[in-house]
């Protein structure tokens, strides 16, 4: 299931983020994430697994399923409804999600976090564990360290992130 999730995540994100038919997708990243999770929950349910014949193209099957879940969310879940949200950007406005949630100064500060990591090992952990999502096991083997040592570095980077956010008053 994990392999299926990782492989098809970009496709599901595409359906939830860009939409289909007359639906333009969930532009709010929080709603989009929730929709993506709802799609995978449905896809991994026994009913959906049994519905797939195992022969046809799974991409096509999953796309159809994702579209159905999005339709259900739009129809049944109040927060996904296509009612104009006074806080939401209107289609006429430029779609700048970063600016919607964070001011430019805060974003610049966030981008500077990586530069503040002077230890190349910590940078490697940030790139491969935090950004790319490598497993602890694979990363420890690739870097030639024990998992215990790796966990210590992950904790260090996590602590530095928390300290950085606190220091600059970031959310």
């Amino acid at each position: 299931m994990e392999a299926v999730y990782r492989h098809y995540l970009p496709l599901v994100e595409l359906v939830a983020g860009r939409g289909f038919g007359g639906f333009g997708g969930f532009y709010d990243p929080v709603l989009r994430d929730d929709a993506v999770q709802a799609i995978f929950v449905t896809a991994f349910e026994e009913k959906a697994r049994l519905a797939y014949d195992g022969i046809g193209d799974y991409t096509r099957f999953l796309r159809g399923l994702a579209q159905n879940v999005c339709r259900q969310l739009l129809d049944k879940d109040r927060r996904f409804a296509r009612v104009p949200d006074p806080e939401a950007v209107t289609p006429d406005e430029p779609l700048d999600l970063e600016a919607r949630y964070l001011a430019d100064e805060a974003l610049d500060l966030c981008r500077r976090f990586r530069d503040g990591l002077t230890d190349p090992f910590e940078r490697e952990v940030l790139d491969r564990y935090f950004a790319h999502g490598d497993s602890e096991e694979a990363l420890a083997e690739a870097l030639g360290v024990t998992r215990y040592r790796l966990r210590k570095v992950i904790a260090q980077v996590g602590k530095k992130m928390a300290r950085f956010q606190k220091e600059y008053g970031l959310p």
Partner: protein
């Protein structure tokens, strides 16, 4: 792991009291901090609570700010989930099977593990047994590179043209790509269609002069669509995708296709994709690491998708 964050200030199990807006805001902040902190665990109960809070615009904005800050700090792209987020979501979908030992049994478990180690130490298995195990799992899958082509109807329904065995002349073509290799940074897509006995190269858009820049991604859409009727006609359609380490210009590709046409003559339309690929590689001086993909389909006069029942 201890829980360093404040528990909700309202008794969730009673369900009688409504938390104040301020309490909700504080709880949303605490949960967002926990979610984006790799040192802390995230359970289904946390997720349920966070999802309920994300349903409200104010607390959703708090979550959104934390989300964007985390993404920008980790990889600089606010639109893409980080590895930590993916792991959190995966753990909720596919819980890891970890052995949960009740605390009062911990001393017994330690004693049993010690005894087991002692036994293993006295009866070490032969070396070949150690080598044989796990060798199969070391093989890594080949990185995938490829072009996806979808047909889009007038009413915005999408289908895959390879599965549907054609694209309707009345529809649009939408391209996406999968590239798991960081060294391939450019993609040039063009089509070949019979024209006066030969084949004519068609760039997706008239204003397309060179390869588009691509990055490592799966099912990433290309930033354009093309209306089939504009420059295509019913008949065979051969799509060629060139994933390269350098940018190719339209002139360069046109010259190569003309040269290939001269070389292969009328066989260009029917030749095996592998022969077309090899000839294009030679004419464009592509390296072994560049990827050439040839997709055969057809432009049909009739609609490929039937009208959706109302």
């Amino acid at each position: 792991m201890t829980h360093p964050l404040p528990e909700p200030r309202w008794p969730r199990w009673l369900g009688l009291f409504r938390p104040s807006p301020q309490a909700k805001v504080e709880r949303a902040r605490a949960l967002a901090r926990r979610y984006f902190d790799a040192r802390l665990t995230w359970t289904a109960a946390h997720e349920d609570e966070a999802r309920a809070l994300r349903a409200e615009p104010t607390t959703r904005a708090i979550w959104g700010r934390a989300l964007i800050a985390h993404r920008v700090m980790v990889h600089g792209d606010a639109t893409r989930a980080t590895g930590l987020e993916t792991r959190r979501r995966l753990d909720l979908l596919v819980p890891r099977r970890t052995a949960q030992v009740p605390r009062f049994l911990a001393p017994l478990a330690i004693a049993a593990a010690t005894l087991l180690l002692a036994l293993v130490g006295t009866t070490a298995p032969p070396e070949e047994d150690l080598r044989a195990r796990g060798m199969g799992s070391l093989a890594l899958p080949e990185p995938q590179v490829g072009l996806g082509v979808g047909g889009i109807t007038e009413d915005d329904r999408e289908y895959e043209i390879l599965a549907a065995e054609g694209v309707s002349i009345a529809d649009w073509l939408r391209f996406s790509y999968t590239n798991e290799r960081a060294d391939l940074t450019h993609l040039f897509v063009f089509g070949l269609q019979p024209d006066d006995g030969g084949l004519r190269p068609i760039a997706p858009l008239p204003e397309e002069h060179q390869s588009v820049a691509i990055h490592v991604a799966r099912f990433a859409p290309l930033p354009f669509e093309t209306r089939v009727a504009t420059r295509h006609q019913p008949g065979r359609l051969r799509l060629v995708a060139l994933f390269t380490t350098r940018a190719l210009t339209l002139d360069e590709v046109s010259a190569a296709v003309t040269a290939v046409e001269l070389e292969l003559g009328s066989r260009l339309a029917t030749t095996l994709p592998s022969i077309l690929e090899a000839t294009l590689r030679a004419r464009l001086a592509l390296t072994a690491s560049d990827v050439v993909q040839v997709l055969d389909s057809e432009v049909v006069a009739n609609p490929v998708l039937r009208e959706e029942p109302r």
